[in-house]
Amino acid sequence: MRKSLIHPGTGRDRADVCIIGAGPAGAVAATRLAEEGLDVVVLEQGDWPDYRKARGAHADFEVNSGADWAWNPNTRRSPSDYPINGRDADIDVVLYNGVGGGTVIFAAQWHRNAPSDFCVRTLDGIADDWPLSYDDLKPYYERVERAFGISGLAGDPAFPAGEGPPLPPVPLGDIGRRVAAAHNALGWHWWPGSNAIATRPYGSLKPCVQRGTCLWGCADGAKASADRTHWPHAMELGVQLLTGARVRQITVNEAGLADGAVWIDREGKEHVTRASVIILAANGIGTPRLLLLSATRGHRNGLANSSGLVGKRLMLHPFGVVTGLFQDDMHSTQGPWGQHLHCLQFYETDARRGFVRGAKWGLQPTGGPVNATRGWPWGAVDPVWGPNFHRNVRARLGRSAMWGIVAEDLPEESNRVELDAELTDGDGIPAPRIRYRVGENSTKLMDFHIERARESLEAAGAYRTMVAPSIRETGWHQLGTAKMGTDPATSVVDPWGRTHDVPNLYVFDGSIWPTSSGMNPTATIAAMALRCTEHLIEQRHQQQVPA
C-alpha cells in the first residue's frame, strides 16, 4: 500500500509527485522519492537511448558517429527535440532530450564544485553566494558518486578531505604520466581524472574499454549515464516513466498552487497529469522555457517569475582547447574521453591576472586519422592537406594530447532564454531563443588559461602546441536561469529548489545555480537534486498541495 505524500486516500488520479525531465536531476529525485514509497510520474519528451545505433565499434565511426548522437538538437532534429534559436548567441546550446538527459552524450568528466564556488560574492566580490556551502553538499556528493559509480581517487588537494569515489581512476596513460611529471616540475596541480566511467564492474555498469566514444553514446555499457544507473531501478521501485511526453504547460489553480502538467504525446494527443507536487528537471533551457510557457492571468510574465529572473543569468561555460604534438607515440588515438587527469592549478582568483575566478582543465586523447585532418582541434591556420598530408597525419595520430578548458562564466541578466516569437517545435510550442555573449571576464580568463595550457604541454615535451579555433557547439552546461536564493525579489527558488511564488512547484536542475563554477556540473546537479528531494520528503507533511 503506497503512502501518499500529503493526501492519504487521494487515489491514483493524482500522483504524489510529477517530475518533468528524465535527466540526472530527475533520475536522482525520482529514485529517492520512490524509495520512500511515494507515487511518482515522470514526463520525458524523448525516448530511451538506443545503443544499437551507437557506432563506436564501427570502422567508419570517425566520419559517421551517428545522427542520433549529434549534440546539437538543431542538427539531430529527432521527434524528441525542440529547435533552439541561437542566432543571437556566441555559443550554441548542445543537449540531449531523452531518458538519461545530458548524461547520454556528456564526456563523463565528473567534478564537485570547489568550496569557493559557493561564496564568490564573499571571496571575490562578484555575483552571488550560494545559500549553502560545500560542507552542506558534501554528504550528497558522496552518495551520488556511489549511486552513479564514479571513478577517481580520494585525496585531491584541490578539495577538502573526505570520501572519494567508489571506483579506481582510469589509467593516466602515457600522455598523462608525461604531463603529470611536467606539472610536478612546474609545481602545478594535477590529479588522476574523476569520471563517470566504470573502471570495474559496478552495478549495471561494465568496465570501460577505452574506445573514446563517450560523447556519442557509450555502447560498451561503461559510462554512468542516468538511463543505466538510475532509471531501471527507479522503475522497479514503481516510478511511472512516460516517454514521448512533451509538456507544454504547468497549470495553476485559483489558490496559486500547481495542479498539473499538460503534455502532448507523439500522436499529438493532449493529456493532463495531476500531481500534488511538480518538480522541473528539464535543464537550464527547458525549465525556463516551460515556466515562461506557463504564463497565466495571475502570472503574466511566466510562472514563478515575480522576480523577473526566469530565463535570465544564463551561463554556458566557454570552452577552450589546446593541443600538443609530441615526438613519441603516446597511444592517444583513444582512451577515456573522459579525462586522464585534471588540473586545478589556476582555478582560484588571483587579482594580479586581471580577471576573477578560473577554469578546470581535463587531459584527453585526440582521436583517429579522420579527426587528425579536421580544423578542430588542430587549428584552422594549420592545413593538413597537400604534399605533406601523410607526414602531418602521422605527426598527430597517437602523438598528441589536448587540454579541454572549462571556464567559469559569470551571471549577466542580458544572457538569457526567451520564447521565440516565430520558431516552434513539432507540436507548435514556441521554441527557446538564446541571447548570449561571452563576457569580458570570460575572454580574459580564457586567454590566460590557454597560455598556461600551452606551457603545460611544452613542459611535457610537446614540440608544438596549437589552440583550437572557437567553435559554436560547446554550450554543454546550461546553468543559472532560475536562480536560487533566499530573497524572492532576487531569486526564483529557495535554497531547497522550491519556487518562491508557487509553493508546490520545484526546480532541481542546473537552472538554480546562482553562479556557474568552472567545473563540469553533473556532480553538483545530482547532489543538489538529492539534497532538495530529501528536504521535500522531510517537509512533506507541511507541504501545501492543491485541494
Binding site: H58, C119, S133, R200, H390, R391
Partner: protein, 144 residues
C-alpha cells in the same frame, strides 16, 4: 548512389588527389577508391556532405583543380572543410590504407587494473602534489 557522371567523378578524384597525394607507401586518394566506393560509402552515411560536394564540383568545373581548390579554401571554407571530411573519411575506410597505417579503428582495450594509479610509479608521481598541500580556498562563512 550519388549519380555523379564520369566527368564529375574525375573532377572529384583530381581534387581528392591534391588533398591526399601519394607519398612513400601511401597511395593517393583516388588509388584508394575515394572517388568510387569510398565516396559512396561515406555519402550514404553522411548525406549532409552531398550538397557541399556538388558546390565543390561546380566550382571546380571551370578551373584547373589546383586553382579550384584554392578558391574553395579561401572563399568557401565550409565547403572546403566538408570536402576534406568526405575525402579523408573515404580514404581511411579503405582496408589497405588502414593496414598501411596500422590503424584499425576504435578497438576495445580493457582497463588493466595493474595499470592503476598506484602502479608504474604513479604513487611517486602523486607524492609532490600531495606534499604541496591544499590549494582550495575555504568558505569564510564557516565550516570546511
Amino acid at each position: 548512389m550519388t549519380a555523379l557522371d564520369t566527368a564529375a567523378r574525375a573532377r572529384f578524384a583530381a581534387l581528392a588527389d591534391l588533398l591526399i597525394p601519394a607519398d612513400g607507401d601511401m597511395p593517393a586518394a583516388s588509388a584508394a577508391g575515394v572517388a568510387d566506393a569510398g565516396m559512396e560509402a561515406v555519402l550514404t552515411a553522411r548525406p549532409d556532405l552531398l550538397e557541399p560536394l556538388h558546390v565543390a564540383l561546380s566550382t571546380a568545373a571551370y578551373d584547373e583543380p589546383t586553382q579550384a581548390l584554392a578558391i574553395l579554401r579561401d572563399k568557401h571554407p565550409a565547403v572546403y572543410s566538408a570536402l576534406g571530411e568526405l575525402v579523408a573519411g573515404a580514404y581511411y575506410l579503405h582496408p589497405d590504407i588502414q593496414r598501411r597505417m596500422g590503424y584499425r579503428g576504435r578497438q576495445a582495450i580493457a582497463i588493466d587494473v595493474t595499470d592503476s594509479v598506484l602502479a608504474k610509479g604513479d604513487a611517486e608521481l602523486l607524492a609532490p602534489v600531495v606534499q604541496r598541500g591544499r590549494i582550495w580556498r575555504a568558505d569564510p562563512r564557516g565550516q570546511t
